[in-house]
Subunit: 182 residues, 2 copies
DNA sequence: CGAAGTTGTGACTGTCCAATCACTCACAAG
DNA sequence: CTTGTGAGTGATTGGACAGTCACAACTTCG
């Protein structure tokens, strides 16, 4: 058991590396070698721990959404104002905190972009289902409020990907206004 | 001029092919060969018409945003209700019509995903600047309304990429509600 | 006609990368 | 000590792909 847990521990470590490395350039532009190097192991071993490059990416995406759901949940738990609007506010804040390092956010965008691969599209749908489900259940907000919450998140993704905080001009601040970043 | 216009005409044709082909799998996953095949010319010639694969992609992205701006503009021109809200509504409708074939939409998402390449990020910013600028100037709406308009567009992108119209379940309809598609 | 330029291609090159395989090493049970 | 197992790797293979270059065909103009 102690022996077996080592392999599982490595898998978790590699998923962390994969999240970090895939977040930079996305699925297709990232060689498995880069993930292996980041994790400090040989590429060959990565292929033994996961079912091909795709399996590795899927593991990272699934884990990513799991962490998002986790953050939203704990955000909602700690909300003082427990009205739907207050809970949404708390969840938004929790999400803003979560994506401080940008990796989780960028991975979501890359998953979206790679969704022509059926398995990736399915993982994307799974993730969205769990996020929307969480927001829906925990806030008790109406569908249109939940939708607006998700749209806000998508705008947030755009702002980060294009690094609009660094861009001068009123059009940029039109998009970034009210977007929290830490 | 007839001679020069031939080369320019080919370039336009190739940009159309590039838009179509890059839209499917994105920048990194699409070989130039595929674009050339779609355009019915040799890969070598594509490299002569454009400055590498990157130049080709940038041309497609720029052209994509130009078409978006064009659609928004003509949408605004034909609006009967000329209040800010009415103009935004008309623009939204025009955009919904424009992205019937999905290629322009998907290319935007792929550009977002490939924005770790500096030139792509710049093209993305240029495009966003022109779109936001157009909406801002033509509608006279406030920054927060313009922002909401853009967020709606981003949500629309997500819905199309994940093909949520095909997905059963309340979470999917929460995201798709009110999103027009033709 | 021939010179000059332009469109367009086939053949080729160097590189990178996913995936596999044979192998070593540490260790544990009998 | 031997037998067996899981961790981990180096070497390699096969294929794909970005980019180049010399050359062919055609047009234009002197």
């Amino acid at each position: 058991m102690a022996v077996r847990s080592t392999a599982e521990a490595q898998r978790a470590l590699v998923v962390a590396s994969a999240t970090r490395v895939f977040a930079r350039a996305g699925y297709h532009a990232t060689p498995v070698t880069a993930v292996a190097a980041d994790a400090g192991i040989s590429p060959a071993y990565v292929f033994r721990l996961f079912d091909g490059k795709l399996g590795l990416f899927l593991a990272a995406v699934d884990h990513c959404y799991a962490r998002v759901v986790e953050a939203l949940t704990s955000g909602a738990e700690q909300a003082s104002d427990r009205s739907p609007a207050g809970l949404l506010e708390a969840m938004g804040l929790a999400y803003a905190h979560l994506i401080t390092d940008r990796d989780l956010l960028m991975l979501q965008v890359h998953a979206q972009s790679a969704s022509d691969v059926p398995e990736v599209r399915d993982a994307l749908r799974r993730g969205l289902a769990s996020v929307v489900g969480t927001v829906d259940q925990l806030t008790g907000a109406g569908p249109d409020e939940v939708q607006r919450f998700m749209a806000w998140g998508q705008l947030c993704h755009l702002v980060v990907m294009a690094d609009l905080d660094e861009v001068p001009g009123s059009w940029a601040s039109t998009l970034t206004q009210g977007i929290r970043h830490f």
